[in-house]
């Protein structure tokens, strides 16, 4: 977001593409990545458990 002070006013400009809503058709892809990264999360937790508890 860009902010420009202009006298008494402050102008805001929002990058519209950054706020673009994730449409329904991307939901499945998002779910797929969530499953993948949840498995990574589990692997990281297990590795740290092994480190702390040899």
């Amino acid at each position: 977001m860009l902010v420009r002070a202009d006298g008494r006013y402050r102008r805001y400009r929002v990058n519209a593409s950054a706020l673009e809503p994730i449409h329904e058709w991307v939901r499945g892809f998002e779910r797929m990545w969530n499953e993948r990264l949840d498995r990574l999360d589990d692997v990281l937790a297990e590795l740290q458990e092994q480190e702390n508890d040899p």
Partner: protein, 169 residues
């Protein structure tokens, strides 16, 4: 355990955004040091435990971790072989990893057809935020990949991707 969250409590927290017409970005935090996350991204024994799908029967997981070194993942998924490969462009453990990526169902890919994955790891108070920015050559190929999670699964979308690339060639 440290002050980190309970195991599994961050499940489902990955967020996807579309920074431009040809990119998508995935952001996810992990209760682990950046070194460990980097290791899990670049060690075959660890990659095989999380990358792809849970149903993956791994056939190849090659990682030649040096700049210009190749990586290649091949797995059997629902009776069908799927393969991906690319090259490591930047390796800066534990904060940055840049690779190229191509699905092997695409016939005769040109260098500019490869997607570029920029992985950034930022650690703060024992929590590492991973950002994966994926840049595709065109909006069409990016949208095909984004649609791959739709009903019908990966195969349908890969077939469509193949058709699309053939038509474009």
């Amino acid at each position: 355990m440290s002050a980190n969250q309970a195991p599994g409590s961050r499940h489902g927290s990955a967020v996807i955004t579309l920074p431009s017409d040809t990119e998508y970005e995935i952001t996810r935090a992990f209760d682990a040091p950046a070194e460990l996350v980097f290791e899990a991204l670049t060690t075959p024994e660890l990659v095989k435990r999380w990358w792809g799908f849970e149903t993956f029967e791994w056939l190849v997981c090659d990682i030649d971790l040096r700049v210009a070194g190749r990586w290649r993942y091949v797995a059997r998924e629902r009776g069908m072989e799927v393969g991906f490969h690319g090259v490591y462009r930047e390796i800066e453990p534990p904060h940055r990893l840049v690779t190229t990526e191509m699905y092997e169902g695409v016939p005769d890919p040109k260098p500019e057809d490869y997607a570029v994955n920029i992985v950034t790891l930022e650690e703060e108070d024992g929590v590492t935020t991973m950002t994966v920015l994926v840049e595709h050559a065109t909006k069409e190929t990016r949208d095909m990949v984004l649609a791959s999670g739709m009903e019908g699964g990966m195969q349908v979308s890969y077939d469509r991707l193949e058709d699309l690339v053939r038509r474009a060639a």
